[in-house]
Amino acid sequence: SLVIRGEKDEHAVLCSKDKTYDMKIADTSNMLLFVPGCKTPEELNGDLESCNIIHSQIAGFSKNYWELRRCRPKLKKLRKLLMEDPYEGPDNQKDQTSTFSKYTTEDLLSLIQASEEEILHQLQVIDACKIEGYWRILDFDYEMKLLNHVTQLIDSESWPLSKVPLCACLEELGSLEPREMIQHILLSYGRKYVDDAGEVFFEMREDKICRAIARMLLQNAVKFNLSEFEEVWQQSVPEGMTTRLDQLQGLALVDKSSRPETIFLLKVEDLPEDNQERFNSLFGIREKWTEVDITPYIQ
């Protein structure tokens, strides 16, 4: 079955199980009559013998119709909704008392103009997790706390970054954080696989981890001296990982015109959605942009 989704101030979209379509009304100056049971010439060909009159009724008529055009699912709202109340951990009192701004799958299906599959896929992309039936995004500081537990454990156990055992992580860290959270952070920052013996391991994602650590460092200052930052950054990532500036696309910007060169945080998800507003915002930050620099922010 199909569903029409949209709030009063949005343009309606039609959703199948996995696709989203814009709905547009098309006017025609012609008159469209619907005739049930009307036969086409091919269907009558066999009936050359009988020349009976077939009485057909016109069921109705219309001068306009709805046209569907496949479109991109409107998913920006999803992150916006989940960011209303990021999850800060089980110890956080706020979570127990607040009943606002928490969304179940059903809630999201009625608020987001996209098909169910597109919504579920996006939840995975933004590393959302289900806590007590509600979809949540982790507060960044809490996320880093969890990641730090894992990277420290990897270091102290000298596990290879490509073979981090799930069971051992849950055992060692289970007393510090909920097991679901430990599993979630491994799923977010690693690639899950099962070895021949049936044991679950994670191949840690170097780029994603380096990027998260960079964000953690950069968010504490307006800007950093570039070379100092690069040194601290490399020292802060797990041993065996290599930092590269291209890991920071859409997250940070290097100012090559200042002496010394500096770097500052600029998150693409903080920029306005509307095209014109986004350009205004970007050119307000910097007068001239190279194609390489601006591309991650206008994709």
Binding site: V3, F34, F61, E67
Partner: protein, 114 residues
């Protein structure tokens, strides 16, 4: 939306597309009035006779088929018990008879010029 129940395929309807407006001969409603006669020539060309006019058209397979929807339920506004409006797909339309040439009047008697 939902499929209009029952096993078996959806009903297939045909669209008849006319230029301009259709009006009943006498004053009154369109409903219940006779529109006209539809014929097909041996070559499969549809011919529509409306009043004393004749229209020639063509059979067109629609690139994008239409679905005919019927609104379910009587309530004009969604209510707490019925928050979601439902539409049922009643029929599919894959073919249309397009009449876009000017209707030609049928002249049955041409007086001879003296």
């Amino acid at each position: 939306f939902s499929h209009s129940g029952g096993a078996g395929a959806l009903a297939q309807w045909v669209l008849v597309e006319l230029q301009g407006e259709v009006q009943p001969r006498q004053s009154g409603d369109l409903a219940g009035s006779l529109l006209g006669d539809l014929h097909y020539t041996r070559e499969g060309v549809p011919v529509l006779i409306v009043g004393h006019h004749i229209l020639c058209g063509k059979v067109v397979q629609l690139e994008k088929p239409f679905a005919v929807l019927v609104k379910e339920g009587g309530a004009p506004q969604p209510s707490p018990t019925e928050p979601h409006r439902q539409y049922t797909v009643t029929a599919l339309i894959k073919t249309k008879l397009l009449f876009k040439t000017r209707p030609k009047p049928i002249i049955t008697h041409v007086p001879k010029k003296v």
